[in-house]
């Protein structure tokens, strides 16, 4: 029996299917994912202007709530919010309230008292943005900037934008995700997005210690041998390997991992000649990827960063739009009633 409250499945969507939070790609259909990509495309042009601003979030306050440190994700969210003309507050909670024993609920109450309109949340625990979305006052949008091992939906969408730019679409594509899938929120969101957008095959390539239980149920095939797994690939996505994995007895050594699962030119040559190489960053040269590949002609790693700003502008403006639409609908309903 499913105990889940049915309203939770639409936690991130308004009654008419608009985004109001952006927590996970689960439950978002192809049309909505495509709308996010199309909206991001329109914002790429903004980044190319000399005055890189649009007024969509003017007068709004966006709080970057980072319970886990991050440079790239936080700065691209900050830039995205500023290009949308929002006021931005960056809070590094690692070193503030929670270390003084304040509970997450209390921290939130204090931040809401500052009349914020949107929280961009990164947290080390899976589901933390869901918890926050359920706790905050209606009208405040929550954007997931990565939670535990669960989801990193803006990263996955910027990856999808990058793939679409280079491949034109998703039909027929063979995509591999290589490395530490077990601990990766990025991989979970990517697998979900690729399935929804119609990729022909998603392969995960890793040793059994770095794969979640029943990983095939997420919508992918499993390949332990990378030389076999590279065959016919259109896209290869490398995941970052944390050094702690050796201590947890998940891997014997970086050296062995690099030999078996690191991407070098030899292995890349086994893929389709136009295969693109992606990495969510920050990259570990010589651990999961060879420098010659990371900096080579097939690498699109830096495009991913540029696209990150456009994708984040897209989801922030769409979620705020959904919240606004919901608010005016409620006001209209009240006026009628």
């Amino acid at each position: 029996m499913t105990a889940t409250d049915p309203s939770k499945t639409s936690l991130q969507l308004t009654a008419d299917g608009q985004l109001r939070h952006f927590l996970t790609l689960d439950g978002l259909n192809r049309a909505l994912l495509t709308e996010i990509l199309d909206t991001a495309d329109s914002f790429i042009e903004v980044g190319e202007r000399s005055i890189k601003k649009v007024p969509l979030l003017r007068g709004r306050t966006v709080v970057n709530l980072f319970f886990e440190s991050s440079t790239r994700t936080r700065s691209t969210f900050e830039l995205a919010a500023k290009r949308l003309s929002a006021d931005v507050l960056n809070l590094d909670i690692n070193t503030s309230a929670t270390s003084k024993g304040e509970s997450l609920s209390d921290t939130l109450l204090n931040l809401e008292a500052m009349a914020s309109d949107m929280f961009v949340v990164r947290h080390s625990q899976s589901g933390a943005p869901h918890f926050i979305a359920e706790s905050v006052t209606p009208g405040v949008a929550i954007i997931n900037a990565g939670d535990g091992r669960h989801a990193h939906p803006t990263q996955a969408m910027l990856d999808m934008l990058t793939i679409r730019q280079h491949k034109g679409g998703f039909e027929g594509l063979k995509v591999a995700i290589v490395g530490d899938v077990l601990h990766s929120r990025v991989a979970r969101s990517q697998i979900r997005a690729l399935n929804e957008l119609g990729a022909a095959e998603v392969r995960v390539i890793a040793p059994a210690t770095l794969l979640p239980r029943d990983v095939e149920s997420l919508g992918c095939t499993v390949e332990y041998d990378m030389t076999r797994g590279m065959k016919d690939l259109d896209v290869v996505i490398m995941l970052r390997l944390q050094k702690e994995r050796m201590e947890g007895a998940l891997l014997p050594s970086e050296r062995e991992f690099y030999r078996l699962y690191g991407l070098n030119q030899e292995k890349l040559a086994l893929a389709h000649p136009e295969c693109i190489v992606m990495h969510p960053g920050p990259i570990n040269r010589g651990v999961e990827i060879e420098s010659a590949v990371a900096d080579g002609p097939q690498s699109v790693i830096l495009n991913q960063v540029t696209n990150g700003i456009a994708i984040r502008m897209a989801v922030m403006s769409m979620a705020m739009g959904g919240q606004m639409a919901e608010r005016s609908r409620k006001l209209a309903g009240r006026a009628q009633g």
Binding site: M1, T2, A3, T4, D5, K8, T9, L11, D26, S103, L104, S105, H123, Q125, S126, G127, A128, H130, F131, S135, D147, G148, R149, H150, A151, R185, R188, P212, R213, D214, V215, S217, L218
Partner: protein, 423 residues
Amino acid sequence: MSSLKIIGGRLADTNAETTVLVRNGRIAALGEAAGKEPADHDFDATGCLLTPGFVDLCCNLREPGNGQKGNIASESLAAAHGGFTTLCASPDTSPVNDSGAVTNLILDVAAKRSSVRVLPVGAITRGLEGELLSDMAGLAGAGCIALGNGARPVKNARVLRRCMAYARTFGLTVMFSPENQALAADGYAHDGLVASRLGLLGIPEVAETAAVMEMLLLAEETGVRLHLGQLSCARSVEMLADARKRGIAVTADVAMHQLMFTEDALSGFDSRYHVRPPLRSEKDRQALLGGVRDGVIDAITSQHQPHDSAAKQAPLAATEPGLSTIESTLSMGLLLVERGDLDMGSLIRSLTGGPAEVIGRSAELRQGAVADLCVFDPDATWVPNDSSLNSVGRHVPLPGKALPGLVRLTLCDGRQAWPQSDL
């Protein structure tokens, strides 16, 4: 003491109509004989079912020491509301129930404030640390009916073996929730489809099954009477059945919520369903139901774990495990019967005679027996909410839903435990 005659109800297991006469704390007469005798009060049980009072092998009362989560008065009243008359109180209190003095304290408070019978389970290791033996004989002497390590693990197999051998010396029953600490590690959800999708840290089945196997082997060797509490895996039920065939003195229970829910309950990160052991797969649920139907699993427990609301108000991993279940246990059981997952006979046996036997007691409606009984209307519904619940813990399963099974009367030792008001 005045006498009470319960008229017009049916026995829950056989569905036969009967009359029960209660006098001086005991069942003075049953059936036609009871019908003929006069009584000070009559209770009209038309449309209701009668059962012995339910016996709970695993219940957290939170007293002493955790008043913000519950106390003996609040949780025993909640138990009476749920039809329970006997509670085995887990030793995970503060201080831990690892000495006769704490046991006496619990029994003293219970004598003054409890609505139902409280039977403490003593800590088998000092402070539940899993390292040093507690004064087991002293605990038993003070009134502990069994010994266990609560929700905490015993450090290693050597300590476990000595715990069992020492308990065996005095003929004591040991109760353990099997979990291999190294394999469970930091997990908090079933290592399966939902945990993989949501990125939750998993507790694999083998964390339970490896511990079950170890405990069965040690029980066989030491000859102790072993009770395995709160099983969650299909494979554990198989091993239990095999051990019984070999003649090992082992009994077992399952929490009602394990029969009701699966890992899917966590798919919206709902922290109320963060329980330990975790809710597992549908295959496991089916095997556990089979175990109850076949009698391989002796008892269904509430595994009642009341908490203050803050304990559940956090991201899933940061919340405390446990559901507040004791008021909904019967209702969940009736839902299972309604759905054909369980038959009424198995349900009632697993809540009464089954658990009673595990602790060497009996629970039956017969002439001369202690008047512990429950009268409930299986067709009337109630809604768990702030006004209906008595437990401090409000993180109940199926909140706000109309649940079948309204308890009209609970008698413990012939005294009215529920409702609180006069009939």
